[in-house]
């Protein structure tokens, strides 16, 4: 029982860490970096290089 509780705690901890990382990234405007790359055709991805 205790290990299961620990497992759930670990999951909750990971989710919380992920949310904190996302918030930190948004605060540093890293989402803009993602957008800037994603709105242009990625020549490497499509095989032009």
């Amino acid at each position: 029982m205790s290990w299961l509780k620990n497992e759930n705690l670990l999951t909750a901890g990971l989710l919380l860490t992920a949310v904190i990382l996302i918030a930190a990234g948004v605060a540093m405007k890293q989402n803009h970096q993602v957008l800037a790359k994603a709105v242009r055709i990625c020549l490497e991805c499509i095989g032009i290089g």
């Binding site: 999951t11 930190a24 970096q33 957008l35 994603a38 709105v39 991805c45 499509i46 095989g47």
Partner: protein, 286 residues
């Protein structure tokens, strides 16, 4: 989980992530705010239909930037998906996984479930994650190695874009030929082996596999109902034995074992709480 239901969810997820239908005809990619956010599965952001960003491409872009800053945002999103769903994303939400599932339905004289060396080959995807997605892009700036030399999802995007744009078509050369060869290999192998790309190559699957044991959504085998008949292991396309390891890193949580168990001993759970008899409290069943 009924296989038809899963196919419907997979089709809906693929359609939703690629809902920019106009792009398929004009050869123009979507440039709206949706691309601030990474989608959970492997879906190239240069696909004419893509509404979101590719997590692997975004990660490589962040890692290979001239002035390196820790990719909090992209890693945070990937970690969130992983911690919430694990490889359920591979089984239900990834468009490239869906494509492989469809290809596996094509009739062929022989379907290979496993073979000699199968287990060892599965470690390649972890090497891909470490070397092609993290180390090489970090070392040689501005080059997303996995996207450039391997990713078959990007090649599909290239085919669709160049079909609609003659200028792009004229630029296709040696790298495209190589990537098209990789894509063809994945397509033909997918007819014989279930999800070869997910099993052996996909770095995103490797990343989510790290979370499979601790993700919120999990598989649970009820020890009171299970009679060890092996029916679940027989139906598993990923060659996992759910009784031995219900949350094995290779499990994509397609749910075939859930529907294949004649005793109803396997179920999806969300943040499982078990009582002392080893059964699950009904209110926690997903």
């Amino acid at each position: 989980m009924d296989n038809k239901k899963r196919t419907f969810i997979q089709a809906a997820a693929a359609a939703l992530q690629n809902a920019n239908v106009k792009g398929f005809f004009t050869g123009q990619i979507y440039t709206g705010a949706g691309k601030n956010v990474c989608v959970p599965g492997l879906n190239c952001y240069s696909c004419p239909g893509a509404l979101g960003a590719c997590p692997l491409g975004s990660l490589q872009n962040a890692v290979s930037a001239w002035k390196f800053r820790f990719p909090y945002y992209v890693l945070g999103l990937m970690m969130f998906f992983g911690a919430a769903f694990g490889r359920l994303i591979c089984g239900f939400l990834c468009p490239f996984g869906f494509l492989q599932d469809l290809l596996f339905r094509v009739p062929s004289p022989k379907k290979l479930r496993t073979f000699r060396g199968d287990r060892q080959l599965r470690y390649i995807k972890y090497a891909m994650l470490l070397i092609m997605v993290l180390i090489l892009p970090f070392t040689y700036k501005f080059t997303p190695f996995f996207c450039k030399y391997v990713c078959p999802s990007g090649t599909l995007s290239g085919i669709m874009l160049s079909a609609a744009d003659s200028r792009l078509r004229s630029l296709l050369g040696g790298i495209f030929t190589w990537k098209a060869t990789v894509l063809m290999a994945v397509v033909f192998t997918s007819i014989v082996i279930a999800r070869p790309f997910c099993k052996y190559i996909c770095p995103l699957g490797a990343f989510y596999a790290l979370f499979n044991k601790v993700s919120a959504v999990r598989l649970h085998v009820d020890g009171n109902k299970c009679v060890n008949c092996g029916a679940c292991a027989k139906v598993c396309d990923m060659a996992v034995n759910p009784v031995a390891a219900p949350n094995h890193p290779e499990c994509i949580r397609c749910g075939k074992c859930v529907s294949g168990c004649p005793h109803g001993a396997i179920c999806f759970t969300c943040l499982t709480v078990r009582n002392h008899a080893g059964t699950i409290d009904s209110k926690h069943k997903a």
